[in-house]
């Protein structure tokens, strides 16, 4: 369970006398470090590393943990530079606090931002401990060494960090520190288990949904049955008489049911008669299908995203033209723990608690709602049962505050699974059109793509590969405004765009009579020699993951194995994947996926592999089965009986490799997801000759299900 701020400060004072370093954990501003002697001073810093006299090192993790392993990875980096035994490190979860500048999790960006700061924090403390020992022994600091929480001298003298902590805390921190050479890392790159495992595996209360506070009421919200509807009136007279039901109130466009037990609230919900009325467009998936085609054809509905050379001319002079369209549906995030949040809105303060990737945003919104200043609002962070982007939203935290405000009671709002799937904030539906012009030799001379999305913003990544490799290129988009709400979903945009692009490039290679990997490598050569326009990626790193994947999987060398290739750059990391299918008794089966990732230095082998397995499984699940269908604004799939999620017997083997290049680490929570759909679609095309132009694959071709 998260520590309250008071507990946090208490924890702080119990180690007074030990060495405490405050450091900038996640923000972009310059590193700051100093020995902290008072609580007031502590608040100026972004995270804490403290060494108690018994040698236990405590590291406070300010960033929310959603299952991506940050609560383990960050402290590992500090512990490496500090040179301490991992068994003596304790990790604490911080609540939202002015002590920290940037407490959020998202965009696979945390490690990239914090790498150097975390290292410096550990190295600074280590240097101060060495200095304390050197002073004591009257020797020169450079003649001392550290190992596993001890400082030793060539004469054989030894002191533990715990013994030195007090003396070290009285020293001025060094202005310059030396970091370990990357190739001497002992802890980083090892197999390190999640710090929360013991609590998770024994069922300890950890998550927002487990939270219980004195005097707390439970609440659920009944939302409009469809996007484009609003509340007209309701009659709760029967429900209010039901056992355990405290109150039924309208909250904005919704009806809140308050009570003492979830089950009783669920029963009462069924007894409330609600009239909804139309408030906007009631859209159906079939409308979107029509709109997509219309907008793709309509040249006036296009926003320019990038233009290189003269595409029109390239297509006019082309020897061959390849053209294809790809479509993806709306998706809910459906993390296993449904949305929930606790709020207690009092006269002049608010207590908030729950699972959120953006606690600062929740606080700001609740401050706006209640008119209570932010410094009178506390936010306790709980562990999250998955996020996938869903908990970047602050909507459910605001809802909890609205209910608390309306009823004057402390409430924990819980969404049912049905509320969760029908509650909006979806991965938007998009349709893409691609066109490539080829010359006689099969070189790509022109490239056009247009994406049309529904509340998508820009569905293109116009400066990503293959942009930079093609002389004449035009990228445009169009956004349809809808009543259906959308939000970021693990690897926003690229979670589908990558499949479309990588499938298309496969088709282009086929038409050009080229091997798909060789063709991409040729394009990379062009970027290296003569890049066209702005690019966001490093072509050499692209090349290495492609070649390594080809080597690891024995590309084109295996008998009876059909392979599909895909490669993508996102969140500053590069991932190449090869999906393999075999025919078993004549029946195609997806047997294996190779993933070669360049995310720079791997901090935790275990956590990194988990992210690869997880992203591939997630990618496959949604490419195969994921679809949220709308009829007159109503989402039709409401729970896991109709919204299918992949299960154990359906997952292929995964072999995860990482490029060991010593480059500073980059994101890993998302990058392995985008390439998966393309690798599988291309493997299916290699095996059956059939190309899949829309997700989910099992609806594009019902045979596909039997491939897993």
């Amino acid at each position: 369970m998260a520590h309250s701020r008071r507990n946090f400060l208490k924890a702080f004072s119990t180690v007074s006398g030990g060495l405490i370093i405050g450091f900038d954990w996640a923000a972009n501003k310059a590193f700051a470090s100093e020995v902290i002697k008072t609580e007031a001073a502590a608040l100026n810093f972004n995270a804490f590393l403290s060494i108690a006299s018994d040698g236990i090192v405590s590291i406070t993790s300010p960033n929310p943990e959603i299952g991506q392993g940050i609560k383990t990875a960050f402290p590992v980096i500090v512990a490496e530079e500090l040179d301490v035994d991992w068994a003596n490190v304790k990790v604490l979860q911080a609540d939202l606090s002015p002590a920290f500048d940037r407490q959020l999790t998202g965009g696979s960006g945390a490690i990239k931002h914090s790498w150097e700061r975390l290292r410096k924090a550990g190295a600074t403390a280590r240097q101060m401990l060495i200095e304390a020992a050197a002073n004591k022994w009257q020797v020169e600091a450079r003649t001392c060494e550290t190992s596993k929480g001890w400082v030793s001298h060539s004469s054989g003298k030894k002191l533990s960090y715990g013994e030195l902590a007090e003396a070290a805390s009285k020293l001025a921190p060094p202005t310059e520190v030396t970091l370990k050479p990357v190739d001497s890392f002992k802890l980083i790159g090892g197999f390190i288990k999640g710090v929360d495992n013991p609590s998770v595996l024994t069922g300890k209360p950890l998550y927002g949904i487990d939270l219980k506070k004195e005097g707390m009421y439970l609440a659920q919200l009944i939302r409009p049955t469809a996007f484009g509807m609003k509340l007209k009136s309701f009659d709760a007279s029967e429900a209010e008489k039901m056992p355990g039901i405290t109150q039924v109130v309208a909250v904005g466009n919704r009806v809140a049911v308050l009570g003492k037990s979830t089950w009783q609230i669920m029963q009462a919900r069924k007894k409330i008669n609600i009239e909804w009325e139309k408030d906007g467009n009631l859209e159906s998936s079939s409308d979107h299908d029509k709109l997509f085609k219309e907008y793709l054809d309509d040249t006036s509905k296009a926003q320019l995203q990038r233009k290189d050379g003269d595409v029109e001319k390239a297509f006019k002079e082309a020897a061959k033209i390849v053209e294809a369209e790809y479509q993806c549906p709306f998706l809910p995030h459906s993390p296993m723990e449904p949305m929930n949040f606790y709020a207690d809105v009092r006269a002049d303060s608010v207590v908030l608690a729950g699972p959120t990737q953006t606690p600062g945003r929740a606080r700001a919104s609740v401050s706006k709602l209640t008119g209570i200043p932010e410094d009178k609002i506390t936010v306790e962070l709980t562990k999250m049962g998955g996020g996938f982007g869903r908990r970047l939203d602050d909507g459910y935290a605001i809802e909890a505050a609205e209910i608390s405000k309306a009823t004057g009671k402390p409430v924990k709002l819980i969404w049912t699974r049905e509320d969760d799937m029908t509650g909006g904030y979806y991965r938007p539906a998009v349709r893409y059109r691609f066109k490539a012009a080829l010359d006689k030799a099969g070189n790509i001379t022109g490239y056009y793509s247009k994406g049309v999305g529904i509340n998508t913003g820009n569905p293109m990544r116009q400066d990503n590969f293959p942009a930079g490799a093609i002389e004449n290129l035009l990228i445009e988009s169009y956004d349809h405004k809808s009543t259906i709400t959308t939000g970021p979903w693990r690897a926003p945009i690229t979670n589908f765009l990558a499949y479309a692009e990588q499938s298309f490039l496969d088709e282009v290679a086929k038409t050009a009579g080229k091997d798909p990997i060789k063709m991409r490598l040729e394009l990379i050569d062009k970027v290296v020699k003569n890049p066209v326009g702005k690019i966001t990626y490093e072509p050499e790193r692209f090349r290495v993951v492609m070649q390594t994947a080809a080597d690891k999987a024995g590309w084109g060398k295996k008998k009876g194995v059909y392979q599909g290739f895909s490669v993508y750059f996102s969140h500053n990391s590069y991932v190449a994947q090869i999906a393999e299918m075999e025919k078993k008794k004549g029946q195609p089966v997806l047997t294996k996926v190779y993933a070669v990732t360049d995310c720079g230095i791997v901090i935790n082998q275990s956590g990194a592999q988990n992210q690869i397995y997880g992203a591939i499984t997630d990618g496959l699940s949604h490419a195969m089965y994921g679809k949220l269908t709308f009829k007159n604004g109503e989402p039709l799939e409401k729970n896991y009986d109709t919204y299918r999620v992949i299960k154990m017997p359906e997952v292929p083997q995964v072999e995860a490799h990482f490029i060991d290049n010593g480059i500073d680490p980059t994101g890993l929570g998302e990058p392995a997801l985008p390439p998966l759909g393309g690798a599988v679609a291309n493997a299916i095309a290699a095996t059956t000759g059939k190309r899949l132009y829309s997700q989910p694959f099992n609806m594009a071709d019902d045979k596909v299900e039997s491939y897993l």
């Binding site: 999640g194 013991p198 979830t262 089950w263 296993m336 956590g607 729970n639 299960k647 083997q653």
Partner: protein, 153 residues
């Protein structure tokens, strides 16, 4: 309302509750054992799996009255010190990502190993094949069940 008697993790409980209330909500809200999780409420995900008289059941659809007189084991009672071979294997192979589904996964696996101490890969996939892990920890769950079986034999 009705009086229901249950034995949960070796402890006797007697409560006056709605007999239709699913065991899941009884566990989570009446006696505050929150290790058993709500994921779907319609027996589709397995997050709520507990043992009733030694067999894995989905507590989200099991009326508490149907468990009257039965012995219930939850993740909190699987072992005294969190050292059941499955819990150890899960930690050793670092299975959890977000961790939310894992109590249900472990309780399902525990029931499998009780009936079938040496499961084949197919046995494991069949028994574990209806538990959803949204984070995609299936590869390691499969290995961890194997490892736990080895530890027990």
């Amino acid at each position: 309302m009705a009086i229901v008697k249950l034995k949960i993790n070796g402890k006797a409980y007697e409560s006056d509750v709605d007999p239709e209330m699913p065991l899941l909500w009884y566990l989570r809200e009446e006696i505050e054992l929150v290790g058993t999780k709500y994921g779907c409420g319609i027996a589709q995900c397995g997050a709520c799996t507990v043992h009733m008289n030694g067999t894995a059941v989905r507590s989200c659809v099991l009326p508490v009255s149907s468990a009257d007189g039965a012995e219930i084991t939850t993740i909190e009672g699987l072992s005294e010190k969190g050292d059941h071979p499955l819990q150890k294997a899960w930690d050793e192979l670092d299975v959890p990502q977000c961790g939310y589904c894992q109590a249900g996964q472990i309780m399902t696996a525990a029931s499998l190993l009780k009936d079938n101490p040496k499961p084949s890969l197919e046995d494991i996939e069949l028994a574990m094949g209806n538990n959803i892990c949204r984070c995609g920890t299936y590869h390691r769950i499969r290995e961890a069940v194997k490892l736990a079986a080895e530890k027990m034999n």
